[in-house]
């Protein structure tokens, strides 16, 4: 990161902090938007008591389990949809329908059917990751350049060869994009699940404040959410750019 960019980032942070500080006591009541020093104090407290780590850990655990499960299932379903026409025909309409249902709307259903425990939260994450992974993988499989398939056929490749050695590798950029999108969505889903019915986790931390009980925790939760999400995304990008250099696949930031 060059010096100029670092300068601008510091300026933005300064402006935001300044506006926050100014509006805290005045425009917004302190119980709604606590001032930076108050938040910082509580933040430090939460770090020392490992309370923050606890909540973060719970949320990340849910994301990890749900994400891994959902992405792998989504990958399998999506790639087979790309390969088998029948699967595509039958599964595409419901997937396009469910794509429009935000995970938030399914949280009450998950809780009703699966109870208030971890299962319901993880299953919401699995739901959204399956859908986005499947759609992206299927799109990737479908957009294999015809010329490559024809070239392989000319060289005498079997359908199996074509699937595993032409179509699948061609779909990698889409699959990786799907993965990235799925990670973003799983953060959203975990917050949704935790906001509606949980007693721990980052979403819970943020939601507590709605009865003006813990406004500082809300701000801390928001900052953590943004920070961890950003960090996760950047790490993902770095990993992809490093690992996929061979295939000349690079991902840009936004």
């Amino acid at each position: 990161m060059d010096r100029e960019k670092a300068l601008y980032i510091s300026i933005s942070i300064a402006i935001i902090l300044g506006t926050w500080w100014l509006t805290s006591g005045t425009l917004f009541h302190e119980a709604i938007l606590p001032s930076p020093p108050q938040v910082a104090e509580r933040f430090w407290e939460m770090i020392i008591t490992a309370e923050l780590l606890f909540h973060l850990g719970i949320s990340l655990k849910r994301i990890l389990i749900g994400g891994v499960l959902g992405c792998s299932l989504g990958f399998i379903i999506g790639t087979s949809m790309g390969g088998i026409k029948l699967m595509r025909d039958i599964l595409e309409p419901p997937f396009h329908f469910f794509r429009n249902i935000p995970p938030v709307a399914l949280v009450p259903l998950a809780i009703t059917v699966l109870g208030i425990g971890e299962t319901s939260k993880v299953s919401v994450i699995v739901y959204i990751t399956i859908i986005s992974m499947t759609l992206n993988c299927a799109a990737g499989m479908m957009s294999t350049p015809q010329i490559r398939i024809r070239a392989a056929l000319c060289l005498g490749a079997s359908p199996r060869d074509i699937f595993f050695r032409i179509v699948l590798p061609s779909a990698w950029p889409y699959i990786l994009t799907g993965l990235r999108v799925a990670v973003g969505y799983s953060f959203m889903a975990v917050v949704a699940a935790e906001m509606i019915a949980a007693d721990k986790g980052i979403g819970f931390l943020i939601m507590q404040s709605i009865l003006i009980i813990h406004p500082r925790e809300m701000v801390i939760g928001l900052v953590m959410l943004g920070g961890i999400g950003l960090l996760g995304d950047r790490i993902f990008l770095m990993a992809i750019n490093r690992l996929m250099r061979r295939y000349m696949i690079t991902m840009k930031e936004a």
Partner: protein, 254 residues
């Protein structure tokens, strides 16, 4: 076969209903997951009383206002970001940070700051759309092919001409993509906001069904949400096709 492509929606719907019916009678408790017949009857009742339309209308109204507010505020900012490196460096990092904070997480703050009225919902929906639209618009504006600008300058175009007749049209496809994605986030935001703090709307309907132990109603709410989302997305898709006929190069694959 032409018939098959139309029929597959029917086939998958029937398949899902069958699976649902099976699940309701075997794995799941019928009180928690009512069989399709019960839901259909309840659905008919809700349509007859007109109750469902009220909720849908309210939600749509909120989305519309928040969405329009978002477009009006975000497009100018996005354009500024695309045109000026300074603005991009100042606004870019905070936006990338906020991007990871879902509108759901903003709900407690909105409800605390604006109380349980319509303003809080508009704020949440506005927030959901703003970041996406800004980023997409900025990308579109910044990716205006230099050659077109130079060509226009050679032909003696004024800066104003260049902006309105080269830059904006070039950015148009990106802006439309951003608008489309933002609409999805708006629906997500409105449902979440209604689940937490509202007395009408689809989100409220879903939440209420849980509190009143009416799982049929929950299914109906979720289904209608998906339907409304699907219809609005399709409408958008169709209007994009129409508005972008000029830009045939950027045909969207869906």
């Amino acid at each position: 076969m032409i018939v098959w492509s139309r029929a597959r929606i029917l086939v998958s719907s029937i398949g899902i209903i069958l699976l649902w019916w099976l699940g309701s009678h075997t794995i799941f408790n019928p009180k928690l997951v009512p069989p399709p017949i019960v839901v259909a009857i309840s659905f008919w009742k809700m349509i007859a009383t007109g109750e469902i339309w009220v909720h849908i209308g309210v939600s749509l109204r909120r989305v519309l206002i928040g969405y329009l507010l978002g477009i009006v505020t975000a497009v100018p900012i996005g354009v500024a970001m695309g045109r000026s490196k300074i603005v991009e460096n100042l606004l870019g990092p905070p936006l990338q940070f906020m991007r990871n904070i879902t509108p759901l997480a903003i709900i407690p703050f909105a409800v605390n700051a604006f109380t349980v009225g319509e303003a809080s919902k508009y704020f949440i929906i506005w927030y959901g759309s703003v970041i996406t639209i800004i980023l997409n618009t900025a990308t579109g504006v910044s990716l205006t092919p230099q050659i077109r600008i130079r060509a226009a300058q050679c032909l003696g175009a004024s800066p104003r001409d260049i902006f309105f007749r080269i830059v904006m049209p070039s950015a148009w496809p990106f802006i439309l993509t951003g608008l489309r994605v933002a609409l999805g986030f708006c629906f997500m935001g409105v449902v979440a906001a209604e689940m937490v703090a509202a007395e009408n709307g689809i989100g409220f309907l879903i939440m209420q069904s849980r509190n009143m132990l009416l799982p049929e109603q929950m299914f109906i709410g979720i289904f209608m949400l998906g339907l409304v989302g699907l219809i609005t997305d399709r409408l958008f898709h169709v209007s994009i096709r129409r508005l972008m006929r000029r830009y045939m190069i950027m045909i969207e694959q869906d």
